[in-house]
């Protein structure tokens, strides 16, 4: 269903047009279009296997995802760009399952990342900033020197993703289930960080299937993803309907079995 765009054209938006993505020959995303403006929070929900994480990985340009369609970031087409170029252009992804990298310290990875984004901060300025950021997301100072995600609990990995988000300050962020594995206090903290980022002008796509975090966030738009397509979209009322009816019923179509 084409959504009437009543807002004036924003060259500062993240525009996704007719995005299709397949992995190992199987089409997972079957034509998704979205427009996220600075400061907006768009929620993507859907059952397991609906393509939510594939959407995230396609946007950042993971190599084994074959995509077609257009992705425009602030008017610039990034669909053909390599991952590190998309990141430097201002796109960030918080992974659902961040990998453990035993050979690299957390601080070294983040330092290299901020330098790649053009930071001119000194090493001591960076250290002070990162230590403060780790504290803000609920990680102790020991996480500064630990290997990236190595030995971290699931929740700690998610917090580390948020710390990197705060350090890199992208224009747009795709947060893939950043609330999963977090206790209620940490969920509130994560929601606060997301609201703060949006308040500073960051456009956010939040992928989740937990209604908990949505109690603390007022979304601009909510999408129901079913079988690789946007089956329904609306405002916060859609979340209420989802909680009441479930994904399949609200999608008004049977779930296609994948072969």
């Amino acid at each position: 269903m084409a959504r009437k765009n009543t807002r004036a054209g924003h060259s500062s938006a993240l525009e996704i047009s007719s995005l299709r993505a397949s992995v190992e020959g199987k089409e997972i995303i079957r034509g998704i279009s979205m427009r996220v403006c600075p400061g907006e929070i768009h929620i993507v929900m859907g059952p397991n296997g609906s393509g939510k994480s594939t959407l995230a990985c396609s946007l950042i340009g993971m190599p084994n995802y074959k995509t077609s369609g257009k992705i425009l970031l602030c008017g610039e087409e990034i669909s053909g760009k390599a991952m590190h170029e998309r990141s430097r252009a201002g796109l960030f992804i918080a992974f659902q399952n961040p990998p453990e990298i035993e050979s690299i310290r957390n601080s070294n990875l983040i330092r290299q990342a901020v330098l790649a984004h053009g930071s001119k901060e000194s090493a001591s300025e960076f250290k002070e900033k990162l230590e403060g950021t780790l504290g803000k997301v609920g990680l102790g100072s020991s996480f500064y020197g630990r290997p990236v995600n190595y030995g971290f609990s699931g929740g700690e990995k998610k917090k580390n993703e948020l710390a990197q988000l705060l350090m890199l300050k992208p224009k747009f962020a795709v947060l893939d289930e950043v609330d999963s594995g977090l206790d209620i206090d940490s969920v509130k903290k994560a929601a606060h960080i997301i609201r703060e980022c949006a308040g500073s002008g960051m456009g956010i796509i939040l992928i989740t299937h937990s209604p908990q975090i949505l109690k603390f966030i007022t979304p601009t738009r909510v999408y129901l993803l079913l079988d690789g397509k946007i089956a329904k979209e609306g405002g916060k009322e859609l979340i209420v309907q989802l909680e009441r009816s479930g994904f399949a019923e609200l999608g008004e179509q049977p779930i296609r079995k994948r072969t």
Binding site: H84, R88, N108, L109, Q112, A113
Partner: protein, 274 residues
Amino acid sequence: MGYFVGDAPYTSFKGNNAMISIPNNRQAFITMRVLYPGSVNIKVGKGARLAFSIISEPVVNEHNIRICADVGKEGMCATTLNLKGSPQHTKLKVRGAAGDSSTLALNYILQHKGMLIGNTSTKAGGRAKISVNALIMPSGCGVADTSVSVAHAGSSSRTEINVAGVLHCDMHSSFKGEIYIPQKARNALASMRGKFMAAPGASVSAVPVLKVHSKDARASHSMAVTSLSEQELNYMCSRGISKEDAIALAEDGLVTAMVNRIADTISSIIESAK
């Protein structure tokens, strides 16, 4: 053979052979720069402490270093060899013996150009601790053919072999690590860990050997020849880090971890000497 940097207490020379003998319960921190082939014989007395660094920058094409370290009861010794320079061939032979309840660390930072054949063999007495820590990062078209063996001669002895290697194209490294625990070495504990990062064009051969005859000894090994996994690489690229910088970061991490390990063996001697 070379010359000492700063003070060189308890040392003497006979031609190209240096002798360092630390009396019982004394301590020394010695640095030596080696320019020519030769040998160093080290004797650490009972309860004595020695931190000894050798910087080898030979001015010859055929180089040869022999090191023999003998640590007395309850003594501590950390010997660190930094091999640099570009002789065509280098032979390195190291023997270490740790007396009862003593500690011996044999550390290597191998940054040579050319061919290196190195052999280290050690023996650990009762309750002794031996660690062999090696960082192999040849430059140019360096080749390293190295072997380390540790033998447990007494009960409750502890040994560890730690190797890290960073090899760029056209570099080759073969490493063999051997742990031997005879029946009489009750409650011995031994480990061998190796991690090599090899770029395309480089080659690595890593062979761990465990010979354990004591029924209550514990020995373990892990050897890995690796580069960054695709998942790790993608993660770093998603943060704006290019592939080349990501690999350099991982190599730096491996090198730093081993350098820190070597530094810890030296600082433990300095701490115990206070």
